[in-house]
Amino acid sequence: MSLHEPDAPVLRRYTAFLRINHWIAAACFIMLTLSGLAMFSPALFWLSALFGGGQPTRAIHPWIGVVLFVSYALLCVRFLGSNLPNRDDVAWSRRIVDVINNRDENLPELGKYNPGQKLVFWSQTLLIPVLLVTGLVIWDWYFYGYTTIQTKRVAVLVHSLAAILAITVIIVHIYAGIWVKGTMRAMTRGTVTAGWAYRHHRKWFRQSLAGQPPTAEPPRAGGD
């Protein structure tokens, strides 16, 4: 790919710790989606075979959820500061048609994240705790005695609804990584090309220039 010419200057976007943690959260999210959908819709029960059958699916799902929550809590702390809404977000959102049509030249200059990315952050930040709490209510093996059946009914409904929203957001999140070329390497290698940063996050690009000048070659794996 032309973007990844070896001598292109790159900027560091994510530390190795954050990248690993992101992929732990991603793996948990995918496993939770598959095992959760197996228990949500009869038409998708066959997904339970991926986890060794219905009982193992039921048993492992909540534990993966706990791992996701811990992993996401760490991500959230690291992401929070860069995801606070600001005025640029309003201007960017008004030009959503330009966003969809890849006309980035018409968009305002942005910091580290655009409103779409912030939406992913905030929806997961809201939904994952909701999923944890409602999940604990219906984790009958440990917590059956603590709530009434009516509470459990509401919890399972809210849990399903929150999961549907979270999965839908993640589908869009994954697509954004495919759509906007040069994005994926931020989470795989930790760096983005200077051109990518200039095009999509110019304020962040300039802040990075002021702080830490770009290296001429990509750092070795794990070298940052």
Binding site: G54, V156, L157, S160, V172
Partner: protein, 312 residues
Amino acid sequence: MANYQSLDIVRRSASTEVSPGIRNGTEMEVAKLIDVSRCIGCKACQSACEQWNDLRDDIGHHVGVYDNPLDLTAKSWTLMRFTEYENPKGDLEFLIRKDGCMHCADPGCLKACPSPGAIVQYANGIVDFVEENCIGCGYCVKGCPFNIPRYAQDDRKAYKCTLCNDRVSVGQEPACVKTCPTGAIMFGSKGAMIEHANGRVEDLQSRGFEGAGLYDPQGVGGTHVMYVLHHADQPELYAGLPKDPHISPVVQAWKGGLKIFGLASFALATIGSFIHYVTKGPNEVSSEEEEEARDEIAASKQRRTVSREVRL
């Protein structure tokens, strides 16, 4: 193995396939009729249930009431519930209701169950848990409008009364019916049981129980366990028997509209993304932008050098 013939199954949990319908309408619906007015609270039905199903519940604690055990458990599938009721005349009535699965025509447990074939409904009306398919999620507990299924702490499966499906399928009545010393529990075709109940209700009404009636709640499509109650107008008196039981609207929404909404939402997001990529294409950094970025980097480096020199 579950004791059934596949031809007898009219409904199967979490299954997308159609149940065999070749025989529908020809099989007799059965019912257990519990005449509360004739029950003496001896608990013989509880013992018979434990014995026939080879269950031995754990020894509990006496807390000063007749109910023993205090609640249904994974090993106690039926339970006499005792209520002391002071009627408007000031007299004490000792109301005793044999609690257990009602074998609803529209079973909430079956509707909620996510595991294919873990809950089945036979043509004769019996709703049965097929334990080898149970995954232990506890959804049946949430689906049931009568609070009947119990989650076992030892094997993480849900249990409830089978209406002695193994006995009924070979032409015998359930164990509790067999053992009841006063004939308060009866078993037969649903039609015959309703007919018998009507006679009992008439008798009770003639003895001053104006509110006597048959409990066969239509909110769950009728049940295959029915009660004759002296106060059918106030079923809640009998340890909270619901007046108009139906599958909770929360469960209906979760198992109905939400499933469609969920799958539609995923499909929309995925197809929408795909169409976007195919029509708008990827968002790529142009070579001019790479060039401008390089220029800015060079300028910034120069500024740094200059400022360093100025400082020197």
